[in-house]
Amino acid sequence: MDPKKQSIIIGLIAVIATAGIVGGVMYAILAPSEEGEADVLEIYHWWTSGGEAAAIGALVDVFEGLYPGTTVKQRAISGGSGITMIPIITALVLAGEAPDAFQMHAGYEGIAYYEADLLEDINDIWTDNNLEAVIPDVVQSMCQFEGDYYMVPVNIHRSNVVWYNLKELEAVGVDPKTLTNWTAFFDACFEFEDANPGKDAIALGHAWTQAHLFEQILASQGIDVYENWINGLITNTTDADISAALDILTTFMSYTNDDFDSLSWDEATDLLIQDNSVFNIMGDWANGEFLVANSVYDDDYGTIAVPGTGNMYGLVVDAFQHPAGVANPENSDRWLEVVASKEGQDAFNPLKGSISARTDSNLTLYGPYHDWTGADFASVTYMFPSVVHGSGAPQSFSSELNAVINAFCTGAANKATTAAAIANLAADNIADYTTVWALD
């Protein structure tokens, strides 16, 4: 036979066989499963560690108590801040297979989905459940895009907390209540190091914890400064407020552990628990570390607001939403109502270590640390959304901030370069600043 004809026939067979195999595989992947028709709620989150898993379990229990006929499918994907989960969710959403709800940080983290019309507005859930009456204004803003609600908050962690080792502080005769400004704070650091040669007063961890610290220092420069910063208005490369914040950071670094860049946030907190340092600035998820170590609040350790932020509450907020085109829209809405409810939040937050996003929560369910922070939550003048934790500024800004501040803390960049880099980050990504925050 003519070899040309032979090749053509072989080629044709190859094409047909390929089409068969690919078609079969695609059908197997894309065919609607019988499962999709059942009464199911599918949620994705990254709460996989002990207390976190128990917390989401308690929230699911509340839901199942109200809707016993619905099967809740939890897809827990480990990886802090959703580092593993978010790419998976992105792929699912793009493929039109979005789960009925998924965890995200309120604020800018959801904007890409909103801009792509991948979120349903949930104004009716907010109205029907009278949420505006019990959720603070700034948290409301964090759940909105262009005036409509797209998320409900499930919890609030506080970012501007100084954790101190009470016994070490008492040993050097410092009253923590007096540490309301940076001068007093650094004087206390000096006293501690003077009395404890070889120890460092402040425990600090690796990259993002340094950016977290910088964020708190900037808030201490005033709520207007912070507001301008997260609105992308600080674009002057020699801005005086940024410069002042970096000066404070420089002094701060002179009291920290030398190996800060190789410690995770919890290892840094552990330095304080082990009496190797006296201060640590970290969000209030750190409280769990003290509890695990059997430390007693107001006996072994205590908390104050970051100097200069006594009338502020730094917000790290987790939220859920109603993605467009979900398989079980009614269950998605029901889930959001449970998440936002007093009962749901008071089941979730005591186990999670955060406080309820509602001002009417039952604080007697929480521990002694939460008594302090819960009282502040109800009384502070200002609240500010965290940049480092995904809410306050566009991702194009926040994801680069870690490296910029890390370069400063490790000495890879000087003050002028860092101030310029922070300003340029805002200027270069100005088109991404679509939210105008009003914090005062």
Binding site: I21, A112, E115, S399, A403
Partner: protein, 296 residues
């Protein structure tokens, strides 16, 4: 007309079946993806919005005025300059050592090759612990043998971080290079070595004048393999330093990852991927061309 049965013999069917799946997979998951990546780099696609407006070379223009991209590119070059020659030299030295007819040669081979069998993620975690300033095995060891003054801040050191990253890479790759070089050395005819020995060549002269000049092919192969890896290294550096301190160990694949998965700048990230692809092609094409000519 010839019947189908005659054309499609059993052999041909099995050949088709064996070839068809890998070919389809390679086409879909490699070539179509490469083409799609290039297409995306010319668009404004952000990963979620279904917008593919043509933006020409806009993303590429942005790249070459962006300080972070240029820093990453420079870091990649520094990585190549330390890691590639370092691995080649270490691999060659290990191969020469093993060529001394040592007893239990296979045991040593296994020991040297073992690091290469580890996943880069495992290596990254392992060395991150070893480099830990406070509790890391390196500083603890130095302290315990009385060399505490050599204690170091390793990958935390802004000036030396890239060097210590390269040490890890060399540790992982030199065993593999050793295998390539040892095979090369063993393929040199014994008669040439004997003749040189008869002519009075010393051990050093033997390697310098007779053996190493004949290792051009393995050196070239090793050079290309290492260069390609240095350009696309991601997992190990991501785990070991995350690109820090600051940007001192951030290389192009890390920048690409941040742009795409953290900032959702898919088209910009695709432009970085295209540049990386071109850089790798610049290395690979001459190699393939030379290999193909040699085979001919």
């Amino acid at each position: 007309m010839v019947s189908i049965k005659k054309i499609i013999t059993r052999d041909k069917i099995s050949t088709i079946l064996f070839l068809i799946i890998p070919i389809v997979l390679v086409i879909i998951f490699i070539y179509i993806c490469i083409i799609w990546n290039v297409v995306v780099s010319f668009s404004d696609w952000d990963g979620l919005r279904p917008s593919y407006d043509f933006k020409g070379f806009g993303q590429y223009q942005k790249l070459f005025t962006n300080e972070i991209f240029l820093t990453s590119l420079w870091n990649n070059i520094v990585l190549i300059l330390i890691f590639v020659p370092g691995s080649l030299v270490m691999g060659l030295l290990l191969a020469i050592l093993l060529d001394q007819k040592v007893r239990k040669e296979n045991v040593f081979k296994l020991i040297y090759l073992l690091p290469f069998t580890l996943s880069f993620v495992v290596t990254g975690f392992l060395w991150r612990w070893m480099y830990n300033v406070r509790v890391g095995v390196l500083n603890t060891l130095l302290e315990s043998i009385g060399l505490g003054f050599f204690r170091n801040d390793w990958i935390q050191n802004v000036d030396w971080a890239m060097f210590w990253v390269c040490v890890v890479l060399i540790w992982q790759y030199s065993g593999y290079m050793m295998l390539i070089f040892l095979a090369g050395i063993r393929s040199i005819p014994e008669s040439q070595v004997m003749a040189a020995a008869v002519d009075g060549a010393s051990g050093f002269q033997m390697y310098y004048r007779i053996i190493i000049p004949q290792l051009k092919a393995p050196i070239f192969t090793g050079f290309v393999l290492l260069l390609v890896f240095a350009l696309k290294a991601f997992d190990l550096i991501f785990i070991l330093t995350g690109g820090g301190p600051g940007y001192t160990t951030e290389i192009l694949p890390l920048t690409m990852y941040k742009e795409v998965f953290r900032k959702k700048h898919f088209s910009y990230g695709s432009a970085i991927a295209t540049i990386l692809f071109l850089l790798i092609m610049i290395v690979v094409i001459p190699y393939l061309y030379k290999t193909y000519r040699r085979e001919k």
